[in-house]
Structures are given as structure tokens and as C-alpha cells.
């Protein structure tokens, strides 16, 4: 029954670009996949391991900048750049982890905000990386999978984003079912109790952070190739870190499908208000987000997944 439902859903999603040829619906779907994947990556650290990070834009930005710089300077295919970005994000995440994992709860969250701001400021002042002006991704024609650029057949981006989401879901599912998933959740529930049972708390946090950072960086590379321009304001902002968190919280943290569900609701809302109301709509989607967050906090802290479960 559930398997059938999933296969049907996957079928619809696979056929969507062929059935709906308009660029806007396809763009919205692509963004749902991207933000679903980003929120899913965040969920591994925050939802399962209980470490609420508000600095995930750091890894997104690292992914975007690494592949772009490698592509510009050495014509390295963005696919390799994507892997390099993920590797660099893992390294940076482990370095960040040492100081910030000593903090708990709100203090951890605040520290991750601070790290995010530091990294953004750093890149703004880093001339070699284009500073505040940012970097263009050199355009290569014709379209090629190798260059991860699709100017004529933008539907290809749709499938790359879908692949990213499926990868994130697959990793999450594997973690959920493995020993690691149990240890992550034990750390989330009670660090002292977990330690008393032989769980190396710091190591589990670092592992969750590494997985989460790597997957987030993949999304960053995708973003760079999709938009073909990156600057610190668009790939390192605090607002992105918060949006990633928001998507997961709305959908339901610590669940496999929560982040996807959250993205399916929030992304169309954001994109929609922007189109209907133009530049003036920018604040409106934030107001709606705010209202939604308050509604979740009061009515259903377990998010939309909690709502679905209660229905059953």
C-alpha cells in the first residue's frame, strides 16, 4: 500500500516536466526538491542528533564556491567540483564542531549563527573569490551533462534536483535503520544517559555534522549551476540558514518525509507571493512564514508529519 503510493508519487514526479511544460511550475518543483534536500540534510543533524544549527548556509556556500572556483580556474567539471565542495564542507564542519559542540541548546544555535556570519564576512572581503561582487559561472554551450549546464532544456535541472532529494532521502533512511541512527537519537534525547551507555557523544555529533554538511554542499553546487551567479549575499546569508530550518520544522523534524512536506508547502508560498506581488511581496512571504511558525509552535510542534499521524 505505502510502497504503491510512493511508486505512484515517483511516477507523477518523473512525468511532471513532460506533462507541465511551463517554466514556472517546473522551477517551483525544482526548488521544492532543492529545499527538501537541504532541509533533509539539516534534519540529519538537528532532527535526529538534536543539534539545532542555524549556520548551514556555510556549507551551502562552500559547495557553491568550491565548484564555481574550480570550474572558472581549472575547468573542472562541476560534478567533481560538487564532490570537492562536499569534502571541503566536511572538513570545515569538523573544525567548526570542536568549539560549538561544547555548547548546548540555544547556546549551540547562537554559536552556529555567529560562525555563519563570520564566514560570510570573510568571503565578502576575500577578493580572490570575487568579494562582495560575487562570481559568474562561465557559460558553456551547448548544453552538457558534464558541465552541469542546461540552457536549452532546463528540465534537466529538475531531474538533477530530484536526484539530490532522493539521495538525501536515501541517506536519511539508511541512517534511520542503522546503529548510527539509534546513537544519534540517544544523543538528541539525553547526552549524559547516552554517554553512560557507551555512546561517544562528541563523535556522534561530528558524524551527524559531517553527513549533514556534505549533503548541504551538494545543494550549493546545484544552486550555482542553476542560477549561474553566486555572491556572499545569496549563498551565505543567515536567512538561508533559517529558511532551511523553517522548512524542516514546518514539515516535522526527526522524520524522513517531514522536510519534503515542509518544502512542498513553503517553497510554492515563497515563489508564489514573489510572482503575484513582485518585489513588494518579498516581505509578505516572510510574514506568512512567521505566522506559520507560530501556528506550528502552538498547535502542532511535531510539524505537518505530526498532523498527518494524528489523522490516522
Amino acid at each position: 500500500m505505502r510502497r504503491g503510493l510512493l511508486l505512484a508519487l515517483l511516477g507523477v514526479v518523473a512525468l511532471f516536466p513532460a506533462l507541465v511544460t511551463g517554466p514556472f511550475p517546473r522551477h517551483v518543483m525544482t526548488m521544492i526538491f532543492l529545499y527538501g534536500a537541504l532541509a533533509g540534510a539539516w534534519n540529519l543533524l538537528a532532527g535526529y542528533c538534536g543539534q539545532i544549527s542555524l549556520g548551514h548556509a556555510v556549507y551551502f556556500g562552500i559547495g557553491a564556491y568550491t565548484s564555481t572556483v574550480l570550474f572558472r580556474e581549472a575547468a573542472v567539471t562541476p560534478w567533481l567540483g560538487m564532490l570537492a565542495g562536499a569534502a571541503l564542507a566536511v572538513l570545515v564542519s569538523q573544525a567548526i564542531g570542536f568549539p560549538v559542540f561544547r555548547l548546548r541548546g540555544h547556546y549551540f544555535a547562537i554559536a552556529t549563527i555567529a560562525v555563519g556570519e563570520i564566514v560570510q564576512t570573510l568571503v565578502i572581503n576575500w577578493d580572490r573569490l570575487g568579494g562582495a561582487r560575487g562570481l559568474f559561472v562561465p557559460i558553456r554551450r551547448p548544453d552538457s551533462l558534464l558541465n552541469l549546464q542546461f540552457h536549452e532544456s532546463r528540465a534537466a535541472y529538475y531531474f538533477v534536483a530530484l536526484g539530490l532529494l532522493l539521495l538525501t532521502l536515501g541517506v536519511t533512511r539508511a541512517v534511520e535503520r542503522s546503529r548510527r541512527g539509534y546513537l544519534f537519537r540517544a544523543v538528541r534525547e539525553d547526552q549524559e544517559a547516552a554517554a553512560s551507555l557507551g555512546v561517544h557523544v562528541a563523535r556522534e555529533k561530528h558524524r551527524a555534522m559531517a553527513l549533514s554538511a556534505a549533503l548541504t554542499a551538494l545543494g550549493g553546487t546545484f544552486h550555482a549551476q542553476y542560477v549561474l551567479f553566486i555572491d556572499p549575499e545569496s549563498v551565505f546569508p543567515l536567512s538561508l540558514s533559517i529558511l532551511i530550518c523553517l522548512v524542516a520544522v514546518l514539515g516535522g523534524v526527526g522524520t524522513l518525509w517531514g522536510p519534503v512536506l515542509g518544502a512542498a508547502v513553503l517553497v510554492p508560498l515563497g515563489e508564489g507571493t514573489r510572482v503575484w506581488l513582485g518585489g513588494g511581496g518579498k516581505a509578505l512571504d516572510l510574514m506568512i512564514y512567521g505566522a506559520l511558525i507560530m501556528a506550528i509552535a502552538v498547535l502542532q510542534p511535531a510539524g505537518l508529519m505530526g498532523l498527518l499521524r494524528a489523522r490516522r
Binding site: Y182, R185, E192, A193, A195, G198, H200
Partner: protein
Amino acid sequence: MSLLRVAGLTKRFGGVVANRDVTFDVAPGECVGVIGPNGAGKSTLFDLITGFARPDAGSVRLDGRELTRLRPDEICGLGVARTFQKLRPFGGMTALENVMVGAFRRTRHVGEAREIAREALAGVGLGDRADAHARGLSTGQRKRLELARALATGPRLLLLDEVTGGVDQGAIPALVALVRALHGRGLALVVIEHNMRVIMGLAQRVVALQLGEVIADAPPADIARDARVIDAYLGQAWRAGP
């Protein structure tokens, strides 16, 4: 040769000395009770032994191996398990999942961990609550859950911080019987306990603490007659009583 040797253990919190020169041994398979009024340093002693706090002086040796520089998870890995005075279940996980976390100390396989956890739950009489969420269990059941979780790590030495604390009177005998059964299987135990009836029936030796210092270390019958213990802890009524 003793299994656990605590020697000269001292811990200060600011100006307060929580443990001063605490020394005692636990032999393999022995059950040692720890008593003392509130604030005597009993839980601090457990924290020092299990790596949750670092002593200012003294040593803790398990089979001759120094524990005081190790992390809690490393000490668990050497075969020392503990429960907490304040219950700390993994509330968002089922009873079975709670115990599986402990079982992963012994195996990397989820299936095997599940089996170990089922056995441990059945062993404490929670076999039928395996799929219940930990936060839905009663206090007595949660005490049993913590016991099962600690046992699933396969310890040689188990430290129990007030097993009967906060449990209603009716549930105490069954819990005590459970602990006695563990002892009967050869597990070494250190038991913090306020209920004197329980400790008298359970422990082979009792260490009495007052203001962080050991004021007596003797078999239960002698402890009950020790003047200092009576003054510090048991009270005059005890002297006149049983």
C-alpha cells in the same frame, strides 16, 4: 584482588568538599551499599567513578586500570554501567529502542542489538512494554527500563543510584528482588539507597558517607550499631527502635 578500588578520592565544588579522601573496595560479585544523608556526596561519588566528574585528587581503579582520566563512554566500555538518581529515559524512543542503545556497546548489528534488548527487557519484567514510548511508562517501569538499558551494555560492575527512590511502596519489593537476582548471577553492585530495610537485606557491606567523608565501612549489622552512623544518618529513633 578487588574489582573496583577507590582510593583517596577528593572532589571540591568551590568551597564545598563533596568527597574527601573517599576510600573503599568492591570485590568481584560483591554488593556494596552506600548510605548517607542528603548532600553527603553519594551521587558525586558515582559521577567520579563513571567519568561524569573529574576528581581533584585520588584514584579509581577497575582491575588495576585507572579510570579517572577516561570519558563516561570509555568507562562504560570497560564494563561499568550506572543508573541515575533522576531518571533519564530517552523519552522520544520506545522502551526497546532505549535498551538497544545500551546493547550497541556489545554488537554493531541492529538485529542482534534488538535481540539483546528484548532479553534485557524481559529480564526486568518489561517484555510486554517493548514498543511503548519511554515517556509513557510509570516511574517504576522507567526504573526498570534504566536497569535494562544499563544491563544491556553487559557490565561487570553496576552502580545503582536509588533504585527504590520515588517508587510507590507496593512496587519496591519486586524491584529489590530484581536487584537481588542480578547479584545472585554474580554481578558486582554498588547501591545508593535511602531505604534502610532494603539496604540491610541487599548489601554485604555498607559504606556510610557524611559531608563527603567515609565514616563507616562495615557489614550491615555492624553499621546499624555504629554510633557515628546513627548520629549522622539513622537518628536516635533507630537506636531505640528495632
